[in-house]
């Protein structure tokens, strides 16, 4: 029923947001100050790199540590191809330069001139040359992605991580050897790369938008689903006909292409190409962004990148000199917040007691330190000041620990942002899971009791059962949570544990059984077998579901009714 989906509305909303963002960026570029402008440009560039790394790490589930190598290739190629003549002359006149006339002549401008496209060699059309150079940089990085991707086919997990890390370092180190020095100018690198693009919010955010669009489209395409299948279980994916080799190499090459684009923007942002612009730290920051935002979620990765970039760039007030009582007040407030947050967390998770001794201890210590620092700022213990550089990295580390402790799957987990989620919409049509369940519940071969009830209630065709929200209209009795509730009072487990989001939110918990059982027993052709048949006993079913107490409890309740 695609017609019911508000595609037009979503597209309009997206367009509106894009327009608002574009206006905001235009304003920042005009009047927002250099620091905000540079920070946003850095966010966009690192965002492209982190998104592309997420294609390998998040969607395909391969831990890759060599992303800075792909960025280096894209960056150096782009820089070499658009380097202005004045910078080339400086390099050729330098005593230590390793570049040859041939490599110094590699420039998009001279190619255009040779092709007779004089109009494209003017300063006004630098952007055309930059786009061409950027694209070529991406393609060369893609080629290296292919080279890294092929040996990775035989490897998994930690071994593959080591290989990719090795490749990243090999790329960086061979770039400085005499073999590649004619192309990279060795350790000296290039200075004078035009910075008009890496610092332009229009260019960086347009490319970020393209990257986000392509990668999310890819994720939900059949190729993307194959990549996700590889992440979940390689053997199962292969058994289902997914070509491991093709898809892994595809992930590496596409990821390397966008990493190359990010590298090209990065050298433009830094207006130079040098080997120590491409240290392993870059990959490390992208990994942090991916973990914080949610492995596999592109919108989440952007949030993670924002956290990393803004803490790094706007954390400098932390490194000023403050009196000790201020530091203790901040420390006390943080510890108090940790204690209160712990209690709130336990309350939300319905853990008893809410006020665990540890949370009381934390909140108490925090409150005492805060109170002392606020009430007696002149105490002898607070004599003096404290200041340390590197505090923002500490803050970043603390943030990372907090997020990982509270939400190990990251801010967004694997979900993507969607308008339906933002507007708190419920789906009008059943999900795949629900369809499968309905099919099982109303199939007389599998579920005699349920199918009989369905036959008696209405003549509707099997499988067209209504959605989970409108449970009252459902022909199968146990669907209705409200009428199910009284019989559940004798349950060994408190029902309160299950109704976090109210009726209708968890169809799997309420429908009494799960299609997984059917698959497991694989007895579609055997009319006598039924996992939930009364003579089979509820206990047997509960044993099957050992890990899922909630499902087991609901089963018991349903059993009582049939």
């Amino acid at each position: 029923m695609p017609g019911e989906r508000p595609i037009t509305r979503n597209a309009l909303l997206t367009l509106g947001v894009v327009a608002v963002v574009a206006l905001l960026l235009a304003w920042v570029q005009g009047a927002g100050g250099a620091k905000l402008n540079d920070t946003l440009a850095l966010f966009a560039i690192w965002g492209i790199a982190a998104l592309s790394l997420n294609l390998i790490n998040g969607t395909t589930g391969i831990l890759s540590l060599g992303h800075h190598g792909f960025m280096l290739i894209g960056g150096y190629v782009t820089a070499l191809l658009i380097l202005p003549d004045s910078a080339r002359q400086q390099i050729s006149s330098s005593a230590r330069s390793a570049m040859t006339p041939f490599t110094l002549g590699l420039s998009v401008e001279s190619w255009f001139a040779a092709l007779g496209l004089e109009a494209l060699t003017t300063p006004g059309t630098l952007w055309v040359r930059f786009v061409v150079a950027l694209f070529i940089g991406g393609l060369v990085a893609m080629l290296f992605g292919l080279i890294v991707g092929i040996p990775s086919l035989r490897l998994k997990g930690d071994y593959l991580a080591i290989v990719t890390f090795g490749f990243g370092e090999i790329i960086r180190l061979t770039a400085s050897t005499s073999l590649f020095a004619p192309f990279t100018n060795g350790a000296l690198g290039y200075a004078g790369v035009p910075s008009d693009f890496g610092k332009s919010l229009g260019w960086t955010f347009a490319l970020l938008g393209i990257t986000l669009f392509v990668l999310t489209k890819l994720k939900f395409s059949s190729h993307g689903r194959a990549l996700q299948a590889i992440r979940e279980d390689e053997i199962a994916a292969e058994a289902m006909g997914v070509s491991l080799a093709r898809h892994k190499v595809m992930a590496f090459t596409i990821s390397a292409f966008f990493a190359g684009i990010a590298g090209g923007l990065w050298v433009s942002y830094l207006s130079a190409a040098r080997l120590d612009f491409f240290l392993f730290f870059l990959t490390f920051f992208f990994l942090v962004a991916i973990s914080v935002g949610g492995t596999g979620s592109y919108t989440g990765v952007l949030m993670g990148t924002a956290v990393v970039v803004f803490v790094q760039q706007y954390g400098d007030p932390l490194e000023r000199t403050y009196p000790l009582e201020t530091w203790f007040a901040i420390l006390g407030a943080l510890v108090l917040a940790a204690g209160l947050g712990g209690a709130a967390f336990r309350r939300r998770k319905r853990l008893r007691p809410v006020w665990h001794p540890l949370t009381i201890l934390l909140a108490g210590i925090g409150a005492v330190v805060l109170a002392v620092a606020l009430l007696f700022p002149d105490a002898a213990a607070f004599d003096g000041t404290f200041q340390a550089f590197g505090m923002r990295r500490i803050l970043l580390a603390v943030l990372l620990i907090t997020i990982m402790a509270l939400r190990p799957e990251g801010i967004m987990s694997r979900a993507e942002f969607s308008w339906a989620w933002l507007l708190r919409e419920r789906r009008a049509e059943p999900s795949d899971d629900e369809r499968a369940q309905d099919a099982w519940l109303t199939n007389p071969d599998l579920n005699r009791a349920g199918a009989a009830a369905a036959d008696g209630a209405a003549g509707s065709a099997a499988g067209s059962a209504a959605d989970g929200a409108a449970g009252a209209a459902d022909p199968v009795e146990p669907y209705d949570y409200a009428s199910d509730h009284p019989s559940a009072q004798g349950d060994p487990l408190p029902r309160a544990l299950l109704d976090d989001d109210g009726p209708g939110a968890h169809p799997l918990l309420e429908r009494g059984t799960k299609p997984r059982d059917v698959q497991r027993h694989g007895v579609a052709g055997d009319p006598d077998f039924h996992p939930d048949a009364p003579d089979d006993g509820a206990s047997g079913d509960a044993d099957d579901d050992g890990g899922d107490a909630g499902g087991g409890a609901t089963d018991d309740g349903d059993e009582g009714r049939t």
């Binding site: 005593a95 230590r96 060795g186 200075a191 120590d276 612009f277």
Partner: protein, 384 residues
């Protein structure tokens, strides 16, 4: 009446009457955390000591806006952008060429003066007319070391260790080797990369080459591992280093392997003569008062102090904080009596014309029972 008063005050502010006590802000972009943190701290202490010495200019207090670039290029750009927003008169720093080049472009575009304290790569000052440096360039330092090795130490064969992925080390090693060979010597260059801890491969390569002298153009992070390994493997030749070894990390990290280690660096009071020596002496004693616990008083301290001094002098000469006026004053600066010798920018591309480089020698353990000490031997001027 109140309205009149407010109007007068506003008018006064517009005319610049009430700005007499408004501070002059100078940006400081240094590597205060990360790989070069020790060098950055030395430089910052030099700047702060110079600020103690000269706290006002044209009757206005001087204020430092200190920014830590974390030894990262994006951090350096972030600092530059912050200074552009703050509207500082000029920027001091940064130390390394990589961070200096990253900050130099946006500052040049915004028309803000930048004085890199110790970037030695020629490319830094070629970025634009607003970019200056306090140090000499690599070719001078490499040549001085090579001449000393050949003429004074009588060396004919040299092993050169260079950090292949660092332009400072790479360039310096090249200049040393070129000069050494021009003087009739023979060299072999061995490469390593940042954060190397095990140098057995390079040492094996060095074994076949019967050298009289070893030249090390890298930083202390790696040098502190390399020197003890060389000594253990029986290399007892004289080792020569460059100003990157002018860092307490070397003798404290490498221990007795640094006993007798020679290095070139910014000249201090011992090698200067006349007024310059007296000024440097005064500065050194003030430094001891301001930072009694500082581990280092070295060339980076002096470079930091003098970059501050010349900028303040230019503001003083220009009698304003207007960027163009200060720039003109700085470009015409001639024979400024700095704590590291006389400084002249007139007629140069931003590299001071006359600098004195000095030879130092480490003693581990130090003479008076201290952990280590550094003796200043003699100085060589750029003109010589």
């Amino acid at each position: 009446m109140k309205k009149m008063l407010a109007l007068l005050v506003t008018l006064g502010a517009l005319l610049g009457v009430s700005t007499a006590q408004e501070p002059v802000t100078i940006g400081v972009n240094l590597e205060l955390s990360g790989r070069f943190a020790t060098i950055g701290t030395s430089t910052l202490q030099g700047i702060e000591t110079a600020l103690e010495e000269r706290a006002t200019v044209d009757g206005r207090p001087i204020e430092l806006s200190i920014c830590d670039n974390q030894t990262t290029p994006e951090g350096s750009i972030n600092c530059a952008a912050r200074f552009v927003d703050e509207g500082v008169v000029g920027v001091l720093g940064s130390i390394s060429t990589t961070m200096s080049i990253a900050a130099a472009n946006p500052l040049q575009e915004a028309g803000v003066i930048m004085i890199s304290t110790s970037s030695t790569n020629p490319a830094t000052t070629q970025i634009g007319d607003h970019i200056f440096r306090m140090a000499y360039t690599d070719d001078f330092q490499g040549k001085v070391a090579a001449r000393h090795a050949v003429n004074e130490l009588g060396a004919e064969r040299a092993i050169v260790f260079r950090q292949q992925d660092d332009d400072y080390s790479f360039g310096l090693a090249g200049f040393f080797a070129d000069e050494f060979e021009a003087l009739g010597g023979e060299t072999i260059t061995l490469d390593f990369v940042a954060n190397t801890v095990d140098f057995s491969a390079q040492i094996n390569d060095a074994r076949g080459f019967d050298a009289d002298v070893i030249y090390y153009s890298g930083f202390c992070a790696e040098g502190a591992s390399l020197m003890p390994q060389l000594r253990q493997q029986g290399f007892d030749q004289q080792i020569l280093g460059a100003d990157a070894s002018d860092d307490s990390q070397c003798p404290t990290g490498g221990g007795e392997a640094f006993d007798g280690y020679l290095l070139t660096g910014f000249g201090g009071p011992e090698v200067l003569s006349g007024d310059a020596a007296a000024r440097a002496e005064d500065f050194a004693s003030l430094f001891d008062v301001v930072f009694p616990d500082a581990p280092d008083f070295n060339g980076f301290t002096l470079a930091g102090a003098d970059s501050f001094n010349v900028l303040v002098q230019a503001i003083d000469d220009a009698d304003s904080t207007d960027g163009d006026a200060v720039l003109e004053a700085l470009q015409n600066l001639e024979g400024y009596p700095g704590v590291s010798g006389e400084i002249t920018y007139a007629g140069t591309d931003g590299t001071p014309a006359d600098r004195t480089i000095a030879f130092f020698q480490y003693a581990v353990p130090g003479e008076d029972g201290s952990e280590w000490s550094k003796a200043s031997l003699f100085g060589v001027g750029t003109g010589e």
